[in-house]
Symmetry: C2
């Protein structure tokens, strides 16, 4: 078999690292068994300075020069964003080229469709790099844990929000200041919506849970809340109660139902995910045979992501050398019901501003009791003397979301309750 | 493609869980794409009661009834031990059958040879279950991290010793008592040598590092020290200095040299592996692109191991359906030099019984200084009044093992030093 020619779409943080690694010819050939040649590279600007620059004559601004080149067997898409990335991937598949992509947005929205198209066309689409940088997550779901019925995924899967949360938790910094700092350090984009509002985590959770639960979970089906409304005071109170606050991505399969959600969550400090800091990601998977498995590593960045991209290229070349494709059929044919968010059972953390007088606690606990919500711990916090008010922090046992929301509303309407400034879900079990 | 017929060798803790999972026909067919049928099961005793009992007519005590049955395409070896397991695997390969094995002892000693034989015979040998139960370690080294030059493996990979160590660290129990407890609870065998002396960890480290470093590392090449000589007092002192003691399996590649070793090690409490307790295993892998990656889960037991075995069976069936084998060539052709243990650089923890008089500290530090060993911290501990003696605990910066051993010897020969009851290596960096 002669050299496998690769067309690279994008030469940014990830693309330049992929190009650099592929330029190590002896290294790649030793591992792939045949030479892998970087044939062409799609860029927007031919003259931009880059971390690693492939030979100038390989660069082009015309996608068709790559997508329509019959000598190119593999397209590596590392441009990011929905379009034109999605169209290029589709075009590549239709031209009979295999695809390696790091694109979570495309794979979360169109992965199953593209995989189906690829199957029909007899080519492979690999996307390990779309979730968690170089952490081997996709392969774990696609192959390694296939003997299991997966019941649960819990993940800290967005580095930007985790950096911000660390700053808020450790130093009591407010959200806006922590975000500004993350932006100044290059950990957050100028427009941080994608990360801060939880979209990025939703995309990654869709990709993982669709494979794990063998059903097509669309981003619009995922309950989503970002971290913008977190208050530093709640990190301190949660810590006193033995909890860290994380932007947690969770997916559960329970009988014929699945639930998928991304929101700030109080996590017991003894839980493995409570110790995941900064740019690190970790995914805890629960399978019925394997029990809990945790995979941890750098969740983003040029080099970790290039590890997954080039790993996929080599894996793909292994199959090409054997003349096969679609060895692993990722299957989305199951149709479990989606549990509506208000039917989800979760523990909760509530912070109340209450009147500093006798009988308030009784009123509050009565409201919770009437809704069948039992209390795990309750703490009266800092007295705000000038308002004759106190802060009450309540941690509940698991209850239905709809009852928790009703409780929040009824509590807020009590004359002795001035406000309910914080309502967070909590994990009730450690790991 | 018709059903794939599987012959199972062994129906113990792991084998019965494999049989149970394969008995879920719809589940396995959904995942493998074709039915996987448990054809025959090799047992020693036809009448032994078992966790899951396949139909009685499948059981046999005659290995040739399975190994020579041309209708059986896959042999699953979960007997454990060297012989007759190794011979059965070899026999199966020579008969053109694919093999899935959970046997670390066979794979550590004969893996490369068996894989070569399998390649020549055009069949596959899978062994994910040989290391770390259901944690996807082998596939991570074989495929996912192929784009990386792996520089380091650090692992807590033996649950029995980790249980004993937990008891010693948490409750100050002595080794013998902790071992007896582990045996009473079924966490340790009656003859615990295999675990306690580090052989089990050596086998697992050989398998991982041979793949990672692309060279054939034999168990005899691994430096090995068990946990039998650990003293509970050192757990307490190490904790004061910010360290946990773990039986750590370590492999490093450094230029043209590799080092592989299993011994008790002081691990900074902030290191991820310091938090691995009881029956859990964790492997930290450092690749030049991916950075550090941690994989964590239950390292043994019937169900976690069956997760890996049945996962391998399904993966194998994927290749059989495509009519291929040996898609991934595991390569052991590199020949890095082995760094002798006395040339390894490591930090160290020393505990000394010294005379309780002026000038002793100066003598001790002079000996270390003459050998070029610098001190990270030094603490004078519990005075033993009746002997006019004190305990001195020293943590060094990294130095060559030969210099550390020379220091231990010279220190022991000082008139002011009564004994050097503890010498442990330490990791100097947190993770």
């Amino acid at each position: 078999m002669t050299a496998v020619r690769v067309g690279l779409l994008g030469l940014g943080t990830v693309g330049s690292q992929v190009a650099e690694r592929l330029s190590r010819e002896a290294f790649v050939t030793e591992r792939a068994g045949v030479p892998v040649e970087l044939a062409r590279v799609l860029v927007r600007d031919l003259n931009k300075p880059r971390a690693y620059a492939p030979p100038r004559e390989l660069l082009t601004t015309a996608p068709e020069e790559i997508l329509d080149d019959p000598s190119i067997a593999v397209i590596v898409e590392v441009m990011g964003g929905m379009e034109p990335a999605r169209s290029h991937i589709e075009h590549a598949i239709e031209s009979g080229k295999a695809v390696v992509t790091a694109n979570k947005e495309v794979m979360a929205h169109h992965g199953p469709t593209l995989l189906e198209l690829a199957k029909a066309r007899g080519v492979d689409v690999y996307f390990e790099a779309a979730v968690g940088g170089g952490i081997p997550l996709i392969s774990t779901f696609k192959i390694d844990l296939l003997a299991n019925e997966i019941s649960r995924i819990e993940a800290v899967i967005n580095g930007t929000t985790n950096f911000i949360i660390d700053r808020m938790a450790r130093d009591g910094v407010g959200f806006d200041a922590a975000l500004a700092e993350a932006q100044a350090l290059g950990y957050a984009e100028a427009d941080a919506t994608y990360d801060v509002e939880g979209f990025d985590a939703v995309f990654k959770l869709c990709i993982m849970s669709s494979i794990a639960f063998r059903t097509r979970i669309h981003p619009a089906e995922v309950y989503r809340e970002g971290i913008r409304d977190l208050d530093p005071v709640d990190f301190a109170y949660a810590a006193e109660l033995g909890y860290a606050i994380k932007l947690l991505a969770q997916a559960r399969a329970d009988g014929d139902e699945v639930e998928v959600r991304v929101h700030p969550t109080c996590v017991p400090t003894s839980h493995l995910l409570a110790a995941v800091h900064g740019a690190y990601n970790a995914v805890l998977i629960e399978g019925d045979l394997v029990g809990p498995v945790l995979l941890y590593g750098q969740g983003a960045g040029g080099r970790p992501t290039a590890s997954a991209v080039v790993g996929d290229i080599i894996d793909l070349v292994f199959s090409m050398r054997k003349g096969i494709s679609n060895r692993i059929a990722v299957d989305f044919s199951r149709a479990p019901r989606r549990r509506p968010m208000d039917q989800v059972r979760t523990a909760a953390y509530l912070r109340l501003h209450v009147a500093d007088r006798a009988g308030v606690l009784a009123e509050v606990t009565r409201v919770l009791g009437e809704l069948g919500i039992s209390i795990s711990s309750i703490v009266q916090k800092a007295l705000i003397v000038e308002h004759a008010a106190a802060e009450l922090v309540i941690l509940t046992h698991p209850a239905r979301e709809c009852d928790l929301l009703a409780a929040r509303e009824r509590l807020a309407s009590l004359s002795s309750v001035y406000a309910v400034p914080a309502f967070l879900r909590a994990l009730s079990e450690a790991r």
